[in-house]
Amino acid sequence: MADEHADTEGGAEPPPERREPPEPSGQHPIARMLLIDAIASAIGVGLVLLIDWFPPVASSAAGPIDTLYHVTLVVAVPIFVLVMTVAIYSVIRFRARPDDTREGAPVHGSARLEVVWVAVPFVIVSALAAYAWIVLDDIEARSPDALRVDVRGQQFAWTFQYPQRGGPPVQSEQLVLPVGRQADFSIQAADVIHSFWVPAFRIKQDAVPGIRTETRTTPTRTGTFGVVCAELCGVGHATMRQTVRVLPQREFGRWLASRRGGGGGGSPG
């Protein structure tokens, strides 16, 4: 490093004496920094992929959404690690003693570097946006033999109706669905905005008074999963939690028939 004589001036501020600006010592400092960055990124990516982020995969939407999320992490972690590495490396390499009044290198910019860090992020976010668009179209695709379910949110519970051809709709206070068949939810609200969320399905849509909203997905696992209201709807918002039961298709048919009450007739939905 250059000579380090202390600044002796007090009072007025004369221009500082010209001294050598800081140079990183050692060979290829940028290459070394990038190596540290690569190793740390690999470790970081490994760690975030090891974390079990999501509830069980219980619908056709969950897999693509989870993958999209993981891919984004794989892209994002190296960027974050790069920022941390450059910051920490610079601070260690170029740290000055408190009495060091030198000034830094008079570097005003670099057009080439600026082009790179505009172009590369632009490409990355464009690619992620395109990927997300594809996933969205995929998870929202309509299936021809979907089961229509009416969802009604009110303070502070959900109720469900299964429209029946040639008969009154089947009412239920618990959501029951057949596995492997798309459920097409038509959602309403009786009073204020609620939000119909099934974490294990990765679907959510607000229930809005005055209009019908919709969402759809295909359950892919049998079992019991949570249904959570996800829009502040009053004092009971935190308690507005129910469950959805996903049954094998035959069992669902039997359940629906039993709810239909007296007399056979009418095929489901």
Binding site: E13, A96, G104, P106, D206, G210, L232
Partner: protein, 632 residues
């Protein structure tokens, strides 16, 4: 002064007189009109409260003296020539009255907003106490809902937005070589609107039915139906919004017309650029939240049907109008912080900012793009579905100008002479935490991911990473950085470092785990949660308590250093911008002579480079502070 003189002169005695008069007028107005119109019952508490929430604050503002000059001027009476007796502070009393000095107003802003920060922070502690375990710990759900609503509203409208205005108010006239802001009386009014708004929000706890409990977002129709406390929010936002708009107007005119000779736009420090662009956002966007709240008010008070689905109303339209402001609002809460970081990093790395022009242009790009992304807050709202795609694209794109800034700050560090003083630590902490918040933001731009994580603790994590790890860290950086200039004393560096490290570690321990519980299925704005989230919530709560305690170190440092700290030089950081070329604290009218700017503000390492030239004191010719010379 005689009692009569005290009661007629602007000040607190007149306030004590004006408040009951205002209340009587409100009651009289409402009851009178209801009686004339044959309403039954004639006295209606709700109607009186609504009108009182407008009249009484104005009574306060008139009493304290914000309007004296304008009323006199508007009445046609000969105006009293300005003798500057209302300008500046010689004792602590000068901080508790209408004062036209931007330095006094700046400190009034900063101290007042930190009071609201403390109150909002105490609410956060209560929230975490309630959430430390499943079941009820502390409060009933209605009170809880009120607490997080008031917490957020105070933090947003009474802390982050105005504290940046306060810091800028103090620093910017000095930085551009101006003796004060363009409109000093309007500046004073902008300040006094703030305690009005804050007291109103806190007063909602005493309304029948409790504090407003619809979040800071106040979605209809919940907000048109809930009890009286909601009106306190509806009105308080108007006063806070008016304060914000008036200040922004002031900044725009000041920056455009009062720069010192030679200070072209591209010789302005980036703090000035940041506040200039923020002010553009404020004046364009804030009227939209005012509009949204006016409509809520009319729905509540007069049975209008803006958002009533049973009538001709449109529920989702509230969200469009609200978020058209509230998304730019988050940039209003961040851009000034970007400016502060540029000042702190250049001064503490002693290097020019890397890519000055792109730093300025990226601010403008964020302003423009910031108006095109609002519906990303509405991806699951049930709005027309094709809008989600363009909003996703614009939201992803806004990462590009933001990334330019992060990379430029990093490049500024490279080959600098780095002093890890407390402001620099917070600036570095900001860079890392804001990057994390930005990453969760990119995730929240992607519609399929948002379908799952919208309205969950993942969002709570994101907002606190960008608003605390982002904005508040820059606020701390700025306060420490300009503390010597404002107070004439040095803060304690060791305590500053302890504050930083405790904040940094416990901030991450508090808000980091929220990402996990959110993705795992925990919704937000809930007084209680499923037992599977208990462990992480306990960790979050305990970390939050330590995090909250760390603030006390800052508070002690500020107060003790202000009273007893060692005297500070004019330029303890050896920085180049104009505010450091005058004494600490500065003279009452800032500059004995307006300087002439001859170069850029960050020309470290360039031999012979000077930013501002000060003439010798013998030449007492005031230099015309016009728009400045064009061209470098």
């Amino acid at each position: 002064m005689t009692m009569a003189a005290k009661l007629t002169a602007p000040g607190w005695y007149r306030v004590l007189l004006a408040l009951p008069i205002g209340l009587v007028i409100a009651i009289g107005l409402v009851t009178g009109i209801r009686a004339l119109g044959g309403a039954d019952p004639v006295f209606d508490g709700s109607a009186v409260t609504t009108v009182a929430l407008i009249v009484v604050p104005f009574a306060f503002l008139i009493g304290i003296g914000c309007f004296d000059y304008w009323f006199r001027w508007a009445s046609g009476a000969p105006t009293v020539p300005e003798d500057h007796s209302g300008h500046g502070a010689d004792s602590w009393r000068d901080y508790f009255r209408v004062n036209t000095d931007h330095k006094v107003i700046g400190i009034q802003y900063i101290v007042t907003t930190f009071v609201f920060f403390i109150l909002g922070g105490l609410m956060a502690m209560a929230i975490r106490m309630e959430l430390i375990a499943p079941g009820r710990q502390l409060v009933d759900p209605n009170t809880y809902n009120g607490m997080f609503s008031v917490h957020a509203s105070l933090m947003i409208f009474l802390f982050i937005i105005p504290v940046f205005a306060g810091i800028a108010n103090y620093v910017i006239p000095l930085m551009i070589g101006a003796p004060d802001m363009a409109f000093p009386r309007l500046n004073a009014l902008s300040y006094w609107l703030l305690p009005v708004a804050g007291v109103m929000m806190l007063a909602s706890f005493f309304a029948p039915g409790g504090a407003f409990a619809t979040g800071w977002t106040a979605y209809a129709p919940l907000s048109t139906e809930l009890p009286e406390g909601q009106t306190f929010f509806t009105m308080a936002v108007q006063f806070a919004g008016a304060s914000s708009i008036a200040t922004a107007l002031n900044f725009l005119v000041t920056i455009i017309t009062m720069r010192a000779p030679g200070m072209t736009f591209f010789r302005m420090p980036l703090l000035v650029w940041a506040n200039f662009t923020t002010s553009l956002l404020v004046v364009i966007a804030t009227p939209f939240i005012a509009g949204s709240q006016f409509m809520i008010l009319l729905d509540r008070a007069l049975g209008a049907e803006f958002f009533n689905p049973a009538g001709s109303g449109d529920v989702i339209m509230y969200q469009h109008v609200f978020w058209f402001y509230s998304h730019p609002a988050v940039y209003i809460m961040m851009l000034p912080g970007f400016g502060i970081v540029s000042e702190v990093i250049t001064a503490n790395a002693r290097k020019p900012i890397f890519g000055y022009r792109m730093m300025a242009f990226s601010l403008l790009a964020i302003v423009v793009l910031g108006f095109t992304v609002w519906a990303h807050h509405m991806f699951v709202s049930g709005m027309f579905s094709w809008l989600r795609i363009p909003m996703m694209i614009t939201t992803m794109l806004i990462a590009v100008p933001t990334g330019i800034k992060i990379f430029s700050w990093l490049a500024t560090l490279w080959r600098g002479v780095i002093h890890l003083r407390t402001p620099m630590l917070f600036a570095l902490g900001f860079i890392t935490m804001f990057t994390l918040g930005g990453i969760s933001g990119v995730m929240l731009a992607m519609v399929p991911v948002v379908i799952h994580v919208s309205d969950t603790y993942f969002v709570v994590a994101h907002i606190h990473y960008v608003l605390f790890g982002g904005s508040v860290f820059t606020i701390f950086a700025g306060i420490y950085h300009w503390f010597p200039k404002m107070t004439g004393r040095m803060y304690d560096e060791t305590l500053g470092r302890v504050h930083f490290w405790l904040s940094f570690v416990f901030f991450n321990l508090t808000f980091g785990p929220m990402h996990f519980v959110g993705v795992d299925g925990m919704p937000r704005r809930v007084a209680d949660y499923a037992s599977e989230f208990a462990t992480l919530n306990a960790v979050i709560s305990v970390s939050a308590f330590v995090f909250g305690l760390s603030f006390l170190i800052f508070l002690y440092n500020m107060i003790a250093s202000w009273r007893f700290g060692p005297r500070a030089d004019a330029n303890p950081w050896h920085a180049k911008t104009l505010e450091w070329q005058v004494s600490s604290p500065p003279p009452k009218f800032n500059f004995d002579e307006i300087p002439t700017v001859v170069g850029g503000p960050y020309e470290y390492g360039v031999p012979g480079a000077v930013h501002g030239v000060f003439k010798e004191k013998s030449k007492a010719v005031p230099v015309a502070a016009s728009a400045g010379m064009r061209g470098e």
